[in-house]
Symmetry: C2
Subunit: 228 residues, 2 copies
C-alpha cells in the first residue's frame, strides 16, 4: 500500500483513453482497455473503457467488486464502482465489460444478460505466488464458463502474463461459447488470441436454453441482502 | 400431456415419502427423494423431500423453475414452487435441494449459499433425443461446476439413466468440490456413486475465496426484474 501510486491515476477521458482511441481508429478495432481512473484526489476507480472501431469512447464500466488479498491491496486504491453494469452497442456485438474480481460474481453476467449482452469481456490480472495450483486456475476458468452457460452468452477473459516480484500471472486468456466450451485459449506468454463469434449460433443456443423465460424474479429477494 | 398422469400425484407426507423414510431409518442414510406432490386436484408440484437418517421428514423443496420443452410438458403438470430455497440441517451437512431445470439458474445456489448451504443436491432427469450432443452434456456439468466455484460449495447432481421411448437419459451423476473439480462421476448405468466431502476443505476454500464479503447487493436490483 503506497500512497505514491495515486500519482498514476488519471481522468477518463485522459491520456490512456486517448492513446487507446488513436489505436482503435488506426487499426479499426473495438477496444476494451483498463485505466486507474481518478475522479478526485485519492478517489479512484478501476475502470474499463470501451472504444468503438472509429476511436469514439463509448463509455466506461467501473469495477464493482473490490478484493483485498495478499499482494492485492485493492481496497486501498479503488472505490467500489457505481456504473450499474453497462452494456455497449459496438459495431461487433452488444458487449458487457467487468473487471477481474467481478468475474467470480454470478450476479454480474446475469444482469448483463438481462440487458442484452451477447459477450462479456473480463480484463483481469490474476496471479498466484510461487507455483500455480492447477485447481485454482481451473476454478477461475470453470466459473466463467459456468456464467457463459447460465446466461447463454460468449465470455472473453483477458489475463495478464509474466512475473512481478513473487507473483506469477498465468495468462491463459480464453474465449468460451454460449455452451461454455473454450473455443480459443492463450498460453502464459504475451500474444494475440483471436476467436470468431457467431450471432446465429448464439441465437440458436438461446432458443434451445430459454432460461430467461422461466426465471422467478419475485422469489429472488434474498439476493438483495448482504446476509440472510 | 395426459391428464391421466395426475392420478400418480400424492401428498407429502404420503406413500412415497413414507417408503423413503423407512429406508432412510433402515440404512441410516440422509435421503433426498422426488415426489409428484398433489396439494389439490390438478394442483401439483415437482417436490424433493429431505429425510434425516433416523427417518424424520425434515422438509421439502418444490421445483421453482419449470421448463416446457419437447417431451418435457412440465408446465402442464407442475406449478412453479413456493418453498423459497430452503436449506436443511442434516446430520451430515447443511444442504440445499433444487430440482432439475433449477440447476441452470445461478440465483438458486447463490440464495442457498447466503442461507449457509454447504452442499446443494440436484435430483435431475435430463435426456436428449437420439444421439447425445457432448457439448450439451458438458454444458450441463459446466454450469453446475460454475455454481460450485461461484458459491464455494459442494454440488451433487443425480441424473436419471436409461431410455424412455426416443429419450436417452445420460446419467453421469457427479459430485463437484468447492473449486468445481468433479471428484466423483457416474456412468450412464444404474449405480451408486459415493463421494467424501470435507468440512475443513470447504472452510479453507471459503477463507480463500471471500466472495460474499465483497458482494454489492445494493447494485443487484435488476435481478428482481423479469426484463430490463
Amino acid at each position: 500500500m503506497d500512497p505514491a501510486f495515486f500519482s498514476w491515476a488519471e481522468p477518463v477521458p485522459g491520456p490512456t483513453t486517448d492513446a487507446l482511441a488513436c489505436l482503435a481508429a488506426q487499426f479499426h478495432l473495438v477496444v476494451v482497455g483498463s485505466v486507474f481512473e481518478q475522479v478526485d484526489v485519492g478517489f479512484c476507480f478501476n475502470t474499463a473503457v470501451v472504444i468503438e472501431a472509429d476511436g469514439t469512447l463509448l463509455g466506461k464500466s467501473r469495477k464493482m467488486h473490490i478484493p483485498q488479498y495478499p499482494h492485492y491491496d485493492e481496497k486501498f486504491y479503488f472505490t467500489p464502482g457505481d456504473t450499474d453494469y453497462p452494456v455497449f452497442d459496438t459495431s461487433l456485438a452488444r458487449i458487457a465489460v467487468a473487471t477481474c474480481w467481478d468475474q467470480w460474481f454470478s450476479e454480474v453476467p446475469r444482469i448483463a444478460r438481462l440487458k442484452g449482452a451477447e459477450l462479456i469481456v473480463y480484463p483481469t490480472a490474476i496471479a498466484l505466488e510461487g507455483e500455480i495450483d492447477r485447481t485454482v486456475k481451473d476454478a477461475w476458468r470453470t466459473c466463467m464458463c459456468g456464467h457463459a452457460v447460465a446466461n447463454t452468452m460468449y465470455v472473453a477473459a483477458v489475463n495478464r502474463v509474466g512475473r512481478e516480484e513473487s507473483m506469477e500471472f498465468w495468462g491463459g486468456s480464453f474465449v468460451a461459447d454460449p455452451l461454455g466450451q473454450v473455443i480459443r485459449k492463450g498460453t502464459s506468454q504475451e500474444e494475440v488470441v483471436t476467436a470468431q463469434l457467431s450471432g446465429p449460433r448464439l441465437e440458436e443456443t438461446r432458443i434451445l436454453n430459454k432460461f430467461l423465460r422461466d426465471r422467478r424474479p419475485e422469489t429472488y429477494g434474498a439476493l438483495l441482502k448482504r446476509s440472510p
